[in-house]
């Protein structure tokens, strides 16, 4: 049998313009490129099926008739439709391109706000299930969460179709997502068709069809758009875990290898009643080893009282002094709300970077005297001073732990933000989107 001519050239009965019909494309309906009338392609007379009532023309980004290479196969863009759903009174339109290959059949490209999907028919029927109490479907080993259901109306057609198309055709559409994939069902009274789409970068499509211009920039987050943060979040927390293990090891190391040497441990008595100089100096002691810290612990028996200590750690040889003051106060009682307490009997301070050498401590204790007013004249306390050389200082470890949390928490927040933006476009906007997006790709 002779191969039929590739393209038939016919005349549009409405406007007379030339209409091309690809004989190899099983075309049933063809739209006149000039007047946009839908014509019956099954006879050469091209009966008029529907006239164009719209106001504006919409230009397909992939021109009709252009061939492109997808998965090493040639596909020709033979048809173009614009479909619309209305959500909360707002219309949302997307574009669909019908691609054809005589041996491979048909395939779709859909585009909305710069987000492209490569769509094929799905012959495996998905089974309904639930995920976190919300509807979902399962097919070919993957679970897809319900994203949106709506009535889709065809609002614009161009090109050739192997089935009947009219502006105004309506189908019920339901989308289920497992980024980067999406399965959709289109339902009419007599038929349900399933398809599976994969999110594709517009630049790959434009490259496949050798289009010179740049694809439209994507706006917002699309239903099955893969999250750029998915792999990143897992890696961030893994790195965090690793760093925390190191931090723990560091903490452990320093708790073992610090000297913790007690160089002074003496008890004293102070009273405001005694006359004479309150300040005194301790015996000289030796701080050994490298430059390190010194921990001074003051333990008192204060009872609803306070005391103030002026301390100076002085190097006997060099005369270098480390001057600081500490307040210790301990108050407690009962009132209508129960018992309360404020402060404590003991105080601890770590003096940094003290070089080794022979030192003594100058101490000047002070308690409330008559001149400050109130209370009995005599304030007294017993107190004990302990000095430890080279102690581990835990505050730094806590700071480090906090700082280490910042990047993974930041990444998780960004990822959650992305998912919130994704689900804001769904039937579930405003509720909890929860869960994690399933992602099979790594950055």
């Amino acid at each position: 049998m002779a191969t039929p001519p590739q393209v038939k050239a016919l005349a549009c009965p409405n406007c007379g313009a030339g209409v091309q019909v690809r004989t190899y494309a099983r075309t049933l309906n063809v739209v006149c490129v000039n007047c946009l009338t839908v014509l019956d392609a099954s006879t050469p007379e091209l009966q008029i099926l529907q006239k164009f009532e719209g106001a504006t023309r919409i230009r397909p980004l992939v021109p009709l008739g252009k061939r492109g290479k997808l998965e090493s196969e040639a596909w020709e863009n033979i048809g173009f439709q614009v479909r619309e759903i209305v959500v909360d009174g707002v219309p949302y339109q997307w574009h669909e391109y019908l691609l054809f290959n005589p041996y491979k059949g048909y395939r779709y490209l859909t585009e909305y706000d710069g987000h492209w999907n490569d769509v094929k028919t799905l012959k495996s029927i998905p089974s309904p299930c639930t995920v976190s109490g919300k509807p979902a479907v399962q097919v070919l080993g993957r679970t897809y969460r319900h994203f949106q259901s709506a009535e889709a109306t065809t609002v614009y057609v161009m090109g050739e179709f192997p089935w009947q198309v009219r502006v105004g055709d309506q189908v019920r559409v339901a989308d289920y997502v497992a980024p980067p994939f999406m399965v959709s069902s289109e339902t009419t009274a007599d038929e349900v068709t399933w398809s599976i789409g994969e999110y594709t970068d517009g630049r790959r499509i434009f490259q496949a069809f050798e289009l010179k211009e740049a694809p439209p920039a994507p706006r917002g987050v699309y239903a099955n758009q893969p999250s750029p943060y998915a792999g990143r979040t897992k890696r961030a927390w893994t790195t965090w875990l690793f760093l925390n293990i190191l931090l723990f090891a560091l903490m452990f190391f320093f708790s073992i290898f610090t000297g913790n040497q007690v160089v002074l441990d003496k008890s004293y008595y102070f009273t405001t009643a005694s006359k004479g100089e309150a300040s005194f100096v301790t015996d000289v002691f030796e701080l050994k080893g490298r430059i390190s810290n010194v921990e001074l612990t003051t333990s008192t028996d204060l009872d609803n009282d306070w005391a103030y200590f002026g301390f100076a750690l002085v190097n006997e040889a060099t005369g270098q002094g480390y001057d600081f003051g500490r307040e210790v106060s301990c108050y407690y009682g009962r009132d209508s709300d129960g018992s309360w307490s404020e402060g404590g009997r003991n105080d601890s301070v770590v003096i940094p970077s003290v070089p080794p050498g022979r030192y003594y401590l100058r101490v000047e204790p002070e308690m409330q005297s008559d001149a400050s007013g109130g209370g009995s004249a005599d304030h007294r306390m017993n107190y004990r001073l302990q000095l430890r050389r080279d102690v581990p200082y835990n505050a730094f470890f806590w700071f480090a732990a906090l700082l280490l949390l910042v990047p993974p928490v930041f990444t998780s927040l960004r990822r959650a933000g992305f998912e919130t933006r994704r689900w804001n476009e769904s039937d579930y906007a405003g509720g909890s989107s929860g869960g994690s997006d399933s992602s099979s790709s790594d950055d």
Binding site: L243, E277, S279, F280, Y393, A400
Partner: protein
């Protein structure tokens, strides 16, 4: 990819800093360093003038 490396570098830098701080005996407490405390103070502690920062009340030696 870049983020991962950045985080690791950031984390290791923090750990290194903590290691140095612990080794050198740093702390967050502020201490006033005084130079040239005379040896006579050991005999006369009252003659020492305190130099620490917070002086909420009158402190006086003699």
């Amino acid at each position: 990819m870049i983020f991962g490396k950045l985080f690791l570098t950031y984390g290791l830098a923090i750990l290194a800093l903590v290691g140095i701080a612990e080794y050198r005996g740093w702390s967050l407490n502020t201490v006033n360093e005084v130079k040239g405390v005379p040896k006579t103070i050991r005999n006369n502690p009252g003659a020492y003038r305190s130099h620490f920062m917070f002086l909420p009340r009158y402190i006086g030696g003699k």
